[in-house]
Amino acid sequence: METVPQQNTGFVTSKLEEMIGWARKFSIFQYPFVTACCGMEYMATACAHYDVDRFGAGLPRFSPRQSDVLFVVGTISHKIAPVLKQIYDQMADPKWVVAFGVCTCTGGFYDNYSTVQGIDTIIPVDVYIPGCPPRPENVLDGLMKLQEKMQQQKQPM
C-alpha cells in the first residue's frame, strides 16, 4: 500500500476494500452459540437440505478465537449472559453478530424474570433474524443480508 502514489489512493483503496469485503463475505467462520429451539433450525440450515455451505459459511468453529461471525441461536437467559459476553469479547476483530430467532432479538414471548430482553442489551448485533424459530429460508436471507453488510462496510485492516 505504501507504493501507491498519494493522489491515487482513493481509487485503489476502494477497490481493495471491495475485494477484501468479497473475500470476507464468502469465508464466514461462524461460532454457533446454540442454546435452544432455534438450534434445530440452525441444524436444518447447516445440513444437506438447505446447505449453508453455498454461502461460504459451512464451517462452524467452536472456538471464539477462530471465528468471525457469532450466531446467537436461541434464548439467552440471565444465567448464560455473562458467558455470551465473554465469548464475544474473545473473538478477534473484525467480528459480526447475528441474532438468530426472536428470543435473541427481543426476548420473544419470554417476557419474564429469567430471559434477557434482546441480546443487543449486552453485545452489538449486526443482523436480526426474527421468527420463532426462523425458517431456514429466513436464516439464509439473514445470512445474505450479513454478507451485503460485510461487502459494503468499511473494511478494518
Binding site: 446454540v34 429451539c37 438450534g39 433450525e41 436444518a44 444437506a48 424474570y113
Partner: protein, 459 residues
C-alpha cells in the same frame, strides 16, 4: 520436586518412582459453551489422568420460566409454551399438556383426534430419535450419518408442516382435540416418508452398528445399573437400555395406544451402544404404530362438504367488519383447516363439542353471534377455558421418557400451577454416575446418548 524420592532408572536418568509421585486430581471445566455440551450444560469434572473420578453437572442456563409463564395466561395460551419444552418432539408436549387439561375437564377427545394425536406423536418421536442419534454420531466422528439423518428429519418436518402449518413450534393440539384434520393425501405422503426413512435407517445401521470405530467408542461406555437408573427415576430409552421394559404407552396406556401391537425394545448392559440400539429399534416400532393407526383410524372429513353460498374466510371477515351482515347466516366460509382450525363439519371428529373447553370452528366465529360469543368466552381474559377446580397429573411417553404434566386449577381461566416432569432432568441428575470411571473422551459419547434437550431440562 525436591522432597520426592528419586531413583536411577535403566537409562540412568533421574525420574521419580511411581510410588513417590504425589497423585493429584485435576479439575476440568467443560462447558457451558462447548460443542459437545450442546451449549447449555456445564460439567466440572475431576480427572485422575484421563479417568473421570467425579463430575458435577450444572444446569439452568436455559431456564426461561415456563412454569411461571403458564401461570400468567389462559389455558389455551400455554400450548405454544409447551412447544418449546422439548423442541425436537413438540407434538408430544402439546398433546401431553392438553391431555392433562382434558383430565381436569373429564373430557375425552374424539376418536379420530386421538388417532391423529398418535400418528403425530410417533412421527415426532422418530424425528427426535433421528436428531439424537445423528448428533451423537456426529460428535463421535460419523458426519455422514448426521447429514443423512438430518436430511430425513427434514422430510418429517415437511410432513408436520403440512398438517400443522409450522415446522417445529407447531401448537397443534387443542384441549379436546386437535387444531385441524389431516390434509388430503397426507396418508400416502406419510407412507412414502416412512418408506424412505426406513431406507435411511437401514443405511445408517450399516454405517454404524457394525462399524468398529463407532462400536469401540460406545460399547461398555457410560454404563448405568438398573438400580441407579430407578433410583434416579430415569425413564425412556435410558431406562430401557438397562433391560427394564417400562414404557408409559404400555404401562399406563393413554390415547389409543392399547389398540396397537408394538414391541418395547430393551437393552441389557445399559451402555451407550444399548441406548443407540434401543432408539434405532424404537423408530421402527413407531412406524409400525403409525401404519396400524392408519388402518384403524375412523373415517372423517378431510375436506369438508360445503353447503350454501361459499365465500372465502377472509372476505367474510372483511364483510362483517364493514357491517355487511345481510344474509350472512346463509353463507359458509371456506378455510384452510391446517391454518385456521378445524372446519365446522368435522369438528365432532377432531375436536370436542364441549363449548367450555374448545374454541368454535372459525366459520361459526365469523358468521354468527353465538359462535363469536363462544370464541370470546374461550379466549378473553377473565373468561377463557375454565376447567373445574382440582388437580390432575397426566403422563405421556415423551421421546426421552415419561413426560408428565401436573396441572392445578382454581376454577379461573388461568392455570394455577403447571408443573412439568421433564424426562431429561432425571437423566441429567444421574449423569455423574454414568460418566464416572470412564475416560474424559467418553463423556462425549455418554452425554450424546442422553439426548439432552435444554427446553425441558431447564424449562
Amino acid at each position: 520436586m525436591s522432597d520426592l524420592a528419586t531413583e536411577k532408572n535403566i537409562t540412568g536418568n533421574n525420574f521419580p518412582s511411581p510410588q513417590a509421585v504425589k497423585r493429584e486430581t485435576m479439575m476440568l471445566n467443560v462447558g457451558p459453551s462447548h460443542p459437545a455440551m450442546h451449549g447449555i450444560v456445564r460439567m466440572i469434572v475431576e480427572l485422575d489422568g484421563e479417568t473421570v473420578q467425579n463430575a458435577d453437572v450444572e444446569i439452568g442456563y436455559l431456564h426461561r420460566a415456563f412454569e411461571k409463564d403458564s401461570e400468567q395466561f389462559g389455558y389455551l395460551q400455554v400450548i405454544p409454551y409447551t412447544d418449546r419444552l422439548n423442541y425436537v418432539s413438540p407434538l408430544i408436549n402439546n398433546i401431553g399438556y392438553c391431555m392433562a387439561v382434558e383430565k381436569l375437564f373429564d373430557l375425552k377427545a374424539p376418536e379420530r383426534a386421538q388417532y391423529i394425536r398418535v400418528i403425530m406423536s410417533e412421527l415426532s418421536r422418530v424425528s427426535d430419535h433421528l436428531t439424537c442419534i445423528a448428533a451423537s454420531a456426529m460428535e463421535l466422528g460419523a458426519f455422514t450419518v448426521f447429514l443423512y439423518m438430518i436430511k430425513q428429519r427434514e422430510e418429517i418436518y415437511q410432513l408436520v408442516e403440512e398438517v400443522t402449518g409450522a415446522r417445529l413450534t407447531i401448537s397443534y393440539a387443542r384441549v379436546g382435540g386437535v387444531k385441524g384434520d389431516l390434509p388430503e393425501g397426507f396418508e400416502a405422503k406419510c407412507h412414502t416418508v416412512i418408506k424412505k426413512t426406513r431406507e435411511v435407517l437401514r443405511e445408517c445401521d450399516q454405517l454404524l452398528t457394525h462399524n468398529r470405530i463407532f462400536v469401540d467408542r460406545v460399547k461398555n461406555v457410560g454404563i448405568i445399573s438398573q438400580k441407579d437408573a430407578i433410583s434416579y427415576s430415569m425413564t425412556g430409552p435410558f431406562l430401557r437400555s438397562t433391560g427394564i421394559d417400562f414404557d408409559v404407552r404400555r404401562a399406563t396406556p393413554y390415547l389409543v395406544y392399547d389398540r396397537f401391537d408394538f414391541e418395547i425394545p430393551v437393552g441389557s448392559t445399559g451402555d451407550c451402544l444399548d441406548r443407540y440400539l434401543v432408539r434405532m429399534d424404537e423408530m421402527e416400532q413407531s412406524f409400525r404404530i403409525v401404519e396400524q393407526a392408519y388402518k384403524q383410524i375412523p373415517a372423517g372429513h378431510v375436506l369438508v362438504n360445503e353447503q350454501g353460498e361459499v365465500v372465502k374466510g377472509e372476505d367474510l371477515v372483511d364483510a362483517a367488519k364493514m357491517g355487511e351482515t345481510e344474509g350472512i347466516v346463509t353463507k359458509s366460509a371456506t378455510f384452510d383447516p391446517t391454518l385456521a382450525g378445524y372446519h365446522k363439519d368435522n369438528r365432532a371428529e377432531v375436536g370436542t363439542c364441549n363449548k367450555r373447553a374448545a374454541m368454535p370452528p372459525k366459520e361459526e366465529t365469523y358468521s354468527n353471534i353465538e359462535g363469536l360469543m363462544n370464541h370470546f368466552k374461550t379466549v378473553m381474559v377473565g373468561h377463557g377455558t375454565r376447567p373445574p377446580a382440582g388437580e390432575a397429573y397426566q403422563a405421556v411417553e415423551g421421546a426421552n421418557g415419561e413426560l408428565g404434566f401436573y396441572v392445578v386449577s382454581d376454577g379461573t381461566g388461568t392455570p394455577y400451577r403447571v408443573r412439568v416432569r421433564p424426562p431429561c432432568f432425571t437423566i441429567m441428575a444421574g449423569l455423574h454416575k454414568v460418566v464416572e470411571g470412564d475416560s474424559m473422551a467418553d463423556i462425549i459419547a455418554s452425554f450424546g446418548s442422553v439426548n439432552m434437550i435444554g427446553g425441558e431440562l431447564d424449562r
